[in-house]
């Protein structure tokens, strides 16, 4: 049974609909992504899951022995901070005291690699995010909800944070990851729910979503000659031309077939592209730039 099941969640603030109709289930031990543009309703959804907001309608069920939301779900939110003069070690020690079965905060400290005597005000953005993750984990939660963790971090800090999230799963904690970075989804998530305007468009693995969006391969090149011969090839599913640039999509040994069928000496700038999760997301949310 799923550890979190959300059914037809809806949350409105007066006239404004923050979450329209969201359903998904998170399995124990996975990293489940919630991905969408800014304002799609991601944060409101997880705040409802963590009992920080009351849904207008719909239900949220917990399984697998998750009985006390505040005790067993650790959540890291955006726009949360700590007093400037609070030290890292004091913060962890303090937050550990809030839970009935806390983790050993000293070993968490080793995990995030921060100086326990450093004051919060002196920490960099990446260090604050790592501390924030540690605070979400200090109560030994069953589920950790991490909201837009890597926004505003430099590439190195982002990678360090990703490593930390992978290790959280290895500790046996289920992770609910809110993000708008497609690279983060591809790298970390086992499954992902794509949310747009408060509704779920798809729930699948990142690869599954890529396959849904057409999958396969793309070959792009420039030529002044005719490419009519390509449409007849069994490997080719579509040919789009915009001036000199030609985009061929298809499956199987597409590259070999296309190169063999092209006239010699009239082709330049040939490259192959794989459909990425970025493309899949854009296709799903209906904002895909039309192929030329």
């Amino acid at each position: 049974m799923a550890i979190i099941s959300v059914h037809n969640l809806r949350k409105t603030y007066g006239e404004k609909v923050a979450v329209d109709d969201v359903s998904f289930a998170v399995e124990e031990g996975e990293i489940f992504g919630i991905v969408g543009r800014n304002g799609a309703g991601k944060t409101t959804t997880v705040e409802c899951v963590a009992a920080l907001r009351t849904p207008s309608s719909g239900t949220i069920e917990f399984g697998a022995g998750l009985t006390d939301v505040k005790e067993q779900i650790g959540i890291q939110l955006q726009d949360c901070s700590l007093p400037d003069k609070l030290r890292v070690g004091e913060a962890l020690d303090l937050y550990a005291s809030f839970y009935s079965r806390p983790a050993d905060w000293r070993s968490l400290l080793g995990e995030i690699g921060l100086d326990p005597r450093a004051a919060f005000a002196t920490l960099s953005g990446g260090q604050r995010q790592r501390l924030s993750i540690a605070l979400a984990l200090v109560g030994s939660p069953r589920v950790a909800i991490l909201d837009e963790l890597t926004t505003g971090l430099d590439p190195q800090a982002r990678r360090d944070t990703w490593d930390l999230i992978s290790r959280i799963r290895e500790m046996g904690v289920t992770v609910l990851l809110v993000t708008h970075f497609m690279e983060e989804v591809e790298r970390l998530c086992d499954r992902v729910a794509v949310i747009s305007a408060g509704r779920v468009l798809a729930v699948d693995t990142p690869d599954g979503l890529v396959a849904r969006a057409g999958g396969g391969q793309r070959i792009v090149f420039r030529t002044t000659g005719s490419v009519d011969a390509l449409t007849a090839l069994p490997e080719v599913t579509a040919v789009h031309r915009n001036g000199d640039e030609v985009v061929v999509t298809g499956t199987g040994d597409l590259l070999v077939a296309v190169v063999g069928a092209l006239p010699a000496g009239q082709v330049s700038g040939l490259r192959t592209e794989r459909t990425t999760f970025d493309d899949a997301f854009l296709t799903l949310t209906g904002h895909a730039p039309e192929p030329a």
Partner: protein, 248 residues
């Protein structure tokens, strides 16, 4: 459970790491009493305007106690709470099993302890150095201190409830605190105020508190009217604060 020992301990450390706050609510009132009491000769002479008391016998120490409690209640407490709300400290706390009200309890506990310590040090050093008499109605003095502190803290919480940001609350605190200290008799003793001004002062929390402190220090029972004014402020500000306080 609203009483979180480690939270109170941690917030105490954070309070002590703000030298300016510690100075204004603990060191400044005692230092003013001792320095001015020793250096201004008139303060140590029997004053006919004060019914033959010395200025430092009751009026001056009562004002220093009022100063300490007023700054804690109207400046330190709202600035801390609004800052915590603005920075998301309260929001983060709300994600844990602990209720954000615990932080309020911690802050009020610290303020109460600091207020009592500051009062005790002011009276003790005043007694030793300037021979300020120990309040002759000690129990009544303690009761007045409690009631006045609750009234001022209610107003401080109400300020924290209505102020949108830390910057706003600092300005509003100052705009409220200085007139209230003036009407409390900080710069012009109530005995020397023109009667219309003293009538206004009677209805302010600081005027009623200051006079009741002064009365009990000098061995007089506090006026029931002043106690009623303080109780009224507790109800008015306390209920407004409870209705309007927001955690995020």
């Amino acid at each position: 459970m609203l009483l979180q020992k480690k939270l109170i301990l941690t917030e105490t450390k954070l309070f002590l790491r703000e030298p300016a706050a510690v100075f204004f609510v603990t060191v400044l009132p005692v230092a003013l009493l001792l320095v001015l009491g020793l250096s201004v000769p008139g303060f140590r002479d029997a004053d006919p305007n004060l019914g033959g008391e010395r200025f430092i016998d009751a009026q001056f120490p009562a004002m220093m106690v009022l100063l300490s409690v007023t700054m804690l209640a109207l400046s330190t407490l709202p600035a801390t709470l609004v800052g915590y709300r603005e920075k998301g400290v309260l929001r983060r706390l709300s994600t844990t099993p602990v209720r954000p009200g615990s932080l309020l309890v911690a802050q009020i506990t610290i303020s109460a302890v600091v207020g009592v310590v500051s009062t005790a040090v002011t009276l003790a050093l005043g007694h030793v150095v300037l021979d300020v008499p120990v309040p002759r109605m000690l129990a009544a003095f303690a009761g007045v201190l409690l009631l006045g502190a609750v009234a001022l803290f209610s107003i401080g919480l109400w300020l924290a409830a209505v102020a949108a940001s830390a910057r706003v609350v600092q300005g509003v605190s100052a705009a409220v605190m200085f007139p209230l200290l003036f009407l409390g008799g900080m710069w012009l003793p109530r005995d020397l105020m023109p009667s219309p001004l003293r009538a206004v002062s009677d209805f302010t929390p600081t005027g009623a508190f200051g006079q009741a402190l002064r009365d009990t220090m000098g061995g007089h029972a506090p006026s029931p009217a002043h106690l009623a004014v303080l109780a009224g402020w507790v109800l008015l500000a306390g209920i407004s604060a409870a209705r309007m306080f927001r955690w995020e």
